[in-house]
Amino acid sequence: MNPVELSLQNCIKCNICVTACPVAAVTDLFPGPKYEGPQAARFRGSDQPMPDSSVDYCSGCRVCNMVCPTGVKIAEINAKARGGMVAAGAVSARQRLRNNLLARSADLGRLAQPVAPIANAILNNRLVRIVTESVLGIAREAPLPSFSRLRFSKWFHGRPKTVSAKRQVVFFHGCSTEYYEPRVGQAAVAVLEANGIEVIVPPQGCCGLPLLSNGEFDAARDYHASNISSLLAYAKQGIPIIGTSTSCTLTLKEEAPELLDYYGEDAQLLAAHTYDFHEYLLELLEQGELLMPRRPIPLTLAYHAPCQYRAHRIGRPSLEIMGLIPELNIIESQAACCGIAGTYGYKREKYQIGMDVGRPLFEFVNSVGGSVAVCDSETCRWQITHATGIETVHPVELLAAAYGYTGCDRVEKAIAGS
């Protein structure tokens, strides 16, 4: 038995997870982690009928995992159950089409990014959104990102190559930096190079998480296999693979192996070399090797550690690194989740649940105010902006600015306005 299934035996039925689950708190459509996870899992044997399809309302936020006193991997149990539903044909073809459209950000990006202005105009068209809602079930209000005119990898390879004998890292940009927010990757490169680190950006695909959280395990396995084959050579040389997208790095580290039973030596080697961007910087800091930021950023900003980040179980490295920036005052949110949970909040039947889940966070962000809010995860950033009207940045954009890099428009605007 793999660790996910094994862990359900640890459940002591204490109900702590039920009190923490942000989805169960706002909707009766989802009875909560204990019932869906360790309890229903006992009835999901191969020769048993599907107990209940409400497990599809689990957003995968992992808040339950974090509070469970006995280490039950509830969110993964639920994700596997959803995978089982898809495999058993219990999810309608239309829903799967919708889910796949949402989950295949790489394919979509490859097609749409070259024609970004047109694609954006289409996606922002109200009529189009109404039609996609009724035909496909993608909520019309949900915050779809805009394709960027610039493709991150193109930008990266189009610039003069910097070489460092001292340190090298592979940058895993993920789909959002590649197609929607290259500014995050540019800031990351600026930070790494300021520290004298050579950045390598090999060809790479989607990490597969959106597919995993939609139960499309076969497709996710292909992505993971292809990432292993393109990144393994670096891992073998001991070069760290670091990413600014907290969900991509979590998938490479743990989610793909656990959900897909993908425990081969290669997958483990890749996992062992994968780091969240700030987790890596924190190691540099501890070794006394991190360049200290000097430019003051006299702002008070709200920061939300996304659930995917908390799920790394590495604390709050970006909070610690931001703590080095002179005059920057960061207030951390204690809210459980923004509600978007990857592709969850884009679905018509879940949009309102997502917004209700995120309410405490939105109230917090509004109460802190400030010209921008800070969050490590892309979909959460879009959700926060959608709900509060406040623009959001990745913590690396603040660090880059504090190193003197002026390419982060949102940060520069905020500093100028302070």
Partner: protein
């Protein structure tokens, strides 16, 4: 808070939270990490100091006195005996003060234990109880009405009333059906508690209870009277019903326990401390007589946590701080600390479930010296910067003594202070 903390507390039960709070009041940088939420979410939200052996003029002074005079005579290493009565009183009083500052008074009964009804109607001796519970005291014979909610399945007013009647306490039972809860599947106490923010809900529940009062002078409800202002909810309901109200602890999740958790976490954060769950500490690095760091399980690789002083508050067998193997081996899970009272497996449990002597396995624990530093059987110290607090300690039997929260709060309080000063006495 960035960088290495002065004090790292492991465990988020009452003991760990109290230790973190106290180390913070002494100006230290404190981080608390825990595998998940702790016993606060399933205990009654009262502070039991010493329930067993309380006599007519019992109470904290005497029950603690009993602990020291009685228990201490046979058990001079009991945590209460290590602390002494003034320190025990100071810890418990400070804790009550903290709760009062958060508008959630915990009250003592003039030096005696309360006798509050449990969810099955048994008398439950406890020293400090939230103001929302004390009208249920069973030393007082006034008739009561026990009210259940038809959607809240895990609460049995009939059973409770029968048991109370059998003890000579006049009690009636009713289960009311609230329209606003009818559509809810899987109702739990936390979900009901969250509804008390609305006055409409208050009115609805009062209207549903009123016709059933039949001369009852007090009404017992499952402990669900909200999180933010339970005292106010209680007063509002009392006004509407014209009689006293009391909460009865429920099966988990326990709202009164969660209130204590929230108060402590809020206070820790107010003082600049960090509380993070999701960290299962699994190993430690020790050099000479010092703990350098501990390691928690994480995605792909372990996460290291360095600190100057470490406080171990992971609980006993129940809390997960110790594990017992089939072979009879019992281990403290992080440091592999030497344990006292380990018995062969066939002697772990008494054949009588309710044996007044308790079960041997629950007496297993970590021996400490006067500074709450772990020691082995020869008295030699395991490390100079490791403090152990809570029910993981040896020479006590919190279940049988009914001293669980008292030990957690008192040792957490003084252990936290000890960690902050980290001097040897």
């Amino acid at each position: 808070m960035a960088g290495k903390p002065d004090v790292l507390v492991i465990g988020a039960g009452l003991a760990g939270l109290t230790a973190a709070w106290q180390a913070l009041t002494m100006g230290k940088r404190v981080r608390l990490i825990a595998k998940g939420w702790g016993m606060t979410h399933w205990h009654a939200g009262c502070i039991d100091v010493m329930g067993e052996g309380v006599d007519d003029d019992g109470g904290i002074s005497d029950s603690a006195g009993h602990a020291m005079a009685g228990t201490a005579a046979v058990q001079p290493d009991h945590p209460y005996a290590i602390l002494g009565r003034p320190k025990l009183n100071e810890a418990i009083d400070s804790f009550a003060q903290l709760c009062r500052a958060y508008e959630y008074p915990l009250v003592g009964n003039a030096g005696k234990n309360w006798m509050l009804p449990s969810a099955v109607g048994a008398a439950r001796p406890t020293y400090l109880a939230p103001e929302t519970m004390i009208a249920g005291d069973l030393t007082d014979q006034r008739p009561m009405l026990i009210v259940g909610l038809s959607q809240l399945n895990d609460f049995y007013p009939g059973l409770m009333a029968d048991n109370l009647n059998a003890q000579g306490i006049p009690a009636a039972a009713v289960t009311v059906d609230l329209a606003s809860l009818r559509e809810v599947r899987h109702l739990n106490p936390v979900m009901v508690a969250n509804r008390f923010h609305s006055l409409t809900f208050l009115d609805e529940i009062a209207d549903a209870i009123r016709p059933h009062l039949n001369g009852a002078e007090r009404v017992g409800l499952p402990a669900v009277l909200g999180f933010e202002q339970p005292i106010r909810v209680k007063l509002e309901l009392e006004q509407r019903l014209g009689c006293q109200l009391f909460e009865i602890p429920t099966l988990p999740p326990s709202v009164p326990g969660i209130r204590l958790h929230r108060i402590l976490v809020q206070e820790i954060r107010r003082l600049g401390g960090v509380v993070q769950e999701g960290f299962e500490v699994v190993a430690a690095e020790i050099s000479g007589s010092r703990v350098l760091r501990v390691f928690s399980e994480a995605g792909a690789r372990q996460k290291s946590h360095a600190a100057d002083v470490f406080v171990l508050a992971t609980g006993g067998i129940l809390g997960g701080g110790m594990v017992a193997a089939q072979t009879g081996d019992i281990k403290e899970t992080i440091f592999g600390l030497p344990l006292s009272g380990v018995k062969a497996q066939q002697d772990w449990l008494s054949h009588e479930y309710f044996d007044p002597q308790g079960h041997a396995v629950f007496k297993t624990g970590i021996r400490v010296n006067r500074d709450f530093r772990p020691i082995d059987e020869t008295g030699s110290q395991f490390a100079e910067n490791l403090i152990v607090v809570g029910t993981t300690l040896a020479h006590c039997d919190p279940l049988r003594e009914r001293s669980m929260e008292g030990i957690a709060v008192a040792t957490g309080f003084w252990g936290g202070r000890q960690a902050a000063s980290n001097e040897s006495s």
